[in-house]
């Protein structure tokens, strides 16, 4: 009996995890109805803190990007979510099954972030702000981006000076502040920053960083200023010197229309329209996610970046892994122990942590291409694993093989090269291939250090099209294709290594 009860309890939990204990029917009248609900927020924003205070008993779900937030609400994982009102307006314009719930929750001032010692730069920005307020330019900008929903960047000449100003932004933040349109950064923030560049006579370089890593990037001098949409809060003030507010931003709750009681329910006719044709739906998704605004370029770029990072970190990792393996098997204690420590350390560190450490600590004050950082971090990780694979492979070869070579008159290295190595390669390739594929998939976290890889490209597109599923599926398919292609390549190399034996065993 008890067993049965336990199983049914488990099943219930599982079912609710899958379906979510989602609200059935139009049950949300006001924000108060969320007391025990699930509320999505962007991680690390003031929305998150607000939600925790306002609905202490609710489940607060944290998401990394606005598109994830949207996805959560649309798929019923969250009953409602909080988002900045200007961006929300854009989002609602493209998703007619969503609506705002209740009144504005809070209004927060936004500011550009600097390090405290950058007083000069900060006051320059404040002066700039005062100027554009005075001559009405700011009002015009707010009107164009916020009220009219504009999507075209005005032509602002880049400063002729050579001095570079690196500004951290979140490229998939979303309109009206910052988004990639036609592969060009567009939005209120970008116009403001471009104009500031012109004002101070500096060339602006945008660095795309996850919002959560923004402050770390500023502190470690990866960037000179935070240009992302960041609310001024007392906590952040401890780390960041903010400019005067350049915008006052509100935030609202939004939810699926069908869950909001006060709204007229979307008629069933709507679903007829949705279901007009599955194929037509796909064609439309294809058009908006790939063709529109030349988004395919973004994907191509991302695909290339993922490929480059995967292949080069595998190469680096293999070479370095071979070296570490050599050290690990050396007769010298120093080498053996240090290789052992290296292996355990790297295998014990989550790759994401390793990636951040390399980027924000090791190369903190070096201006280095983040792709290179990714190659180094993944290469180090791969080295630790491949070193152990190599060692197991080499140690798995019977000592007699080496002895036969030596006894025949080969030198030690020649014996290794002609006899041990080929057998080792034959043995380890299956494991090595598996490790390589997981490396390819592992690279999808490089977004954390401002690299636009395939995953990030998908996120950026999602942030523009607010299509919850198509970009994800497309990205998944592309990863699959990439893994498959690389696998075939490895198999080809494998075939070249032992052509005779392979043919024979196949024929036999």
């Amino acid at each position: 009996m008890r067993k049965l009860a336990m199983i049914s309890a488990l099943l219930f939990v599982a079912a609710s995890l899958v379906a979510g204990t989602s609200l059935n029917g139009a049950t949300l009248r006001s924000p108060d109805d969320l007391r025990l609900g699930r509320i999505g927020v962007l991680q690390g924003t003031i929305h998150e803190r607000y939600a925790m205070k306002a609905w202490p008993e609710a489940t607060i779900l944290q998401y990394q990007s606005p598109s994830d937030l949207l996805l959560a609400v649309k798929s019923g994982k969250a009953d409602a979510a909080i988002y900045s009102d200007d961006e929300l307006m854009v989002m609602l314009r493209q998703n007619d099954d969503l609506a705002v719930l209740g009144d504005e929750l809070l209004a927060t001032p936004l500011g550009m972030g600097f390090r405290y010692e950058q007083t000069e730069l900060r006051s320059a920005f404040n002066n700039f702000l005062r100027d554009i307020k005075a001559d009405g330019r700011q009002d015009a900008m707010v009107r164009y981006w916020m009220k009219e929903g504009g999507t075209r960047m005005p032509e602002i000449p880049a400063s002729a000076e050579n001095e570079v100003l690196r500004v951290g932004i979140v490229s998939d933040n979303g309109m009206p502040f910052c988004a990639l349109i036609d592969n060009r950064l567009t939005g209120y923030s970008i116009e403001l920053l471009d104009r500031f560049g012109l004002y101070t006579g500096r060339k602006i370089t945008y660095v795309n960083i996850e919002f959560g890593s923004m402050i770390a990037a500023l502190a470690s001098r990866k960037i000179d200023m935070i240009g992302a949409v960041m609310a001024i809060t007392p906590e952040r003030r401890k780390k960041v010197a903010f400019s005067d507010p350049y915008y006052e931003q509100g935030a609202n709750l939004f939810a699926l229309k069908k869950n909001i009681a006060s709204l007229p329910q979307p008629s069933t006719a709507g679903s007829v329209k949705d279901g007009k044709s599955f194929l037509a739906g796909i064609a439309e998704s294809f058009r908006s996610n790939i063709l529109l605004e030349n988004r395919w370029q973004l994907i191509l770029e991302g695909f290339r970046t993922t490929l480059v990072i995967s292949v080069f970190s595998a190469l680096l990792g293999t070479l370095f892994g071979a070296l570490v393996c050599f050290m690990r098997m050396s007769r010298l204690n120093v080498l053996r122990v240090s290789a052992g420590v290296f292996i355990s350390l790297l295998r014990g560190t989550p790759v994401l942590v390793l990636l951040m450490l390399v980027f924000y600590v090791v190369f903190a004050s070096v201006n280095i291409d983040p792709v290179l950082v990714a190659v180094i971090a993944f290469g180090l990780n791969f080295a630790a694993y491949s070193a152990e694979i190599f060692r197991a492979g080499i140690e798995g070869i019977d000592r007699g093989q080496t002895e036969a070579g030596i006894a025949m008159g080969f030198t030690g290295p020649a014996t290794f090269y002609f006899i041990v190595l080929p057998q080792t390669l034959q043995r380890i390739l299956p494991v090595y291939k598996g490790e390589f594929i997981s490396l390819v998939k592992m690279t999808s976290i490089v977004g954390y250090i401002a690299v636009q890889d395939l995953t990030k490209a998908g996120d950026i597109i999602r942030s523009r099209t607010f299509d919850a599923f198509f970009p994800l599926i497309m990205v998944a398919a592309l990863y699959f294709f990439l893994s498959w292609a690389l696998m075939r390549l490895l198999e080809y190399l494998e075939g070249m290594m032992a052509p005779k034996h392979r043919n024979r065993t196949v024929a036999a």
Partner: protein, 363 residues
């Protein structure tokens, strides 16, 4: 060709070789015999420096190989080794196993090396296996390929470390035949082996190793038929005889038969002799069934390589009696069989023991 003086080898505190000195001349075939663990393999491995000696000197063709300046790989090329476990290169075909050394080390052209390899494979009777891989060969075939691989390097000395110990008994002779042929052709060889008959036939000199030294050395006739020293005698006798103790009438007939079989295989006795021997032993024990209730019986079988004579010795304690005469069985069947199988039966009371000696008829 090889002069070894005061060679010693320690593994940590374990002193495996203490003081080994020997000179090997060109064309000699030297068998090395001795109990397990006395350093026979270690001795061979020291000669080509697979194990580094702890002391002494080894001079090969006038070169002191322990001199740090000596080109050891070059010396090894002239002195190849055949291992107990074959050690064929697993990733290479038989042909490539044979050509790898010549092509990479002797700078022989590939075509020439392959031609030579094919000749050698013919020599060991495996030409049709040239394209096979080691894991497709039987143990005996592997070892013959290993010998051919060795010959491909055109060595002037070959070291064999128990070349047949890892083989099924049925495959021993094919490998030994190849080595015999090399001996006939005048190859200089050092062979560690447990095949006594083979050692006797093939060697010009036999080394008996024990306690980390060459305990006795001499021509095969001396070592096998007339060993001079105590330990050699014991060893030779033990190798040549089979001893089995039976302490109850419910003895395990099949376990004993299996051991007799093993002994016969080692002695390379013909199938007919094996069957006769098993029958003889079973009949004797049948007759002894009563005796076994009160006392144990010691069986010993010996085989003389020189005369080919197979002798069964039955020893029992208890009161003086010739068990064959006190037969407790209702009929004479067993006794008839015993009489017909043997050439002579002798009974003797000796040192409080009944000792029955039966000599098998020539088959």
């Amino acid at each position: 060709m090889i002069q070894i003086k005061h060679l010693s080898k320690k593994f940590g505190a374990l002193e495996v070789l203490r003081d080994v000195s020997i000179t090997v001349r060109k064309g000699e075939v030297i068998s090395i015999i001795g109990p397990s663990g006395t350093g026979k393999s270690t001795f061979l491995r020291c000669i080509n420096l697979l194990d580094r000696p702890s002391g002494g000197s080894i001079v090969i063709n006038g070169v002191d190989i322990l001199d740090p300046k000596a080109d050891v790989p070059a010396i090894r090329r002239k002195m190849n080794m055949v291992f107990q476990s074959f050690n064929l290169y697993q990733h290479l075909s038989v042909m490539d196993n044979l050509t790898l050394g010549p092509v990479k080390l002797l700078q022989t052209g590939r075509q020439e090396a392959e031609k030579k390899a094919l000749e050698l494979l013919k020599l060991v009777g495996l030409a049709e296996k040239a394209d096979s891989f080691p894991d497709e060969l039987s143990g005996g075939q592997k070892q013959r390929v290993a010998i051919a691989r060795c010959l491909a390097m055109e060595p002037s000395i070959i070291l064999f470390d128990e070349p047949t110990s890892a083989l099924d008994p049925t495959m021993v002779s094919e490998v030994l035949a190849v080595i015999r042929r090399l001996a006939r052709d005048g190859m200089t060889m050092l062979i560690v082996t447990h095949e006594m008959k083979f050692a006797r036939d093939v060697s010009s000199r036999v080394l008996y190793m024990d306690e980390g030294v060459i305990y006795e050395e001499g021509p095969p006739e001396q070592i096998f038929d007339n060993p001079q020293k105590e330990r050699t005698k014991i060893f030779i006798n033990r190798v040549r005889s089979f001893n089995y103790r039976i302490a109850s009438p419910d003895y395990d007939l099949y376990a004993m038969n299996a051991e007799i079989e093993l002994f016969c295989e080692k002695q390379i006795l013909p199938l007919k002799s094996r069957q006769s021997l098993q029958l003889l032993v079973e009949e004797v024990l049948q007759i002894c069934a009563d005796t076994l209730r009160s006392t144990a019986i010691e069986l010993a079988i010996t085989h003389s390589e020189k005369t080919g004579e197979i002798k069964l010795l039955v020893e029992s304690g208890g009161a003086e009696e010739n068990i064959l005469e006190s037969a407790a069985l209702p009929d004479e069947l067993g006794l008839t069989i015993i009489r017909n199988l043997t050439r002579s039966i002798a009974y003797k009371r000796d040192g409080g023991q009944n000792r029955l000696t039966l000599i098998l008829k020539e088959q």
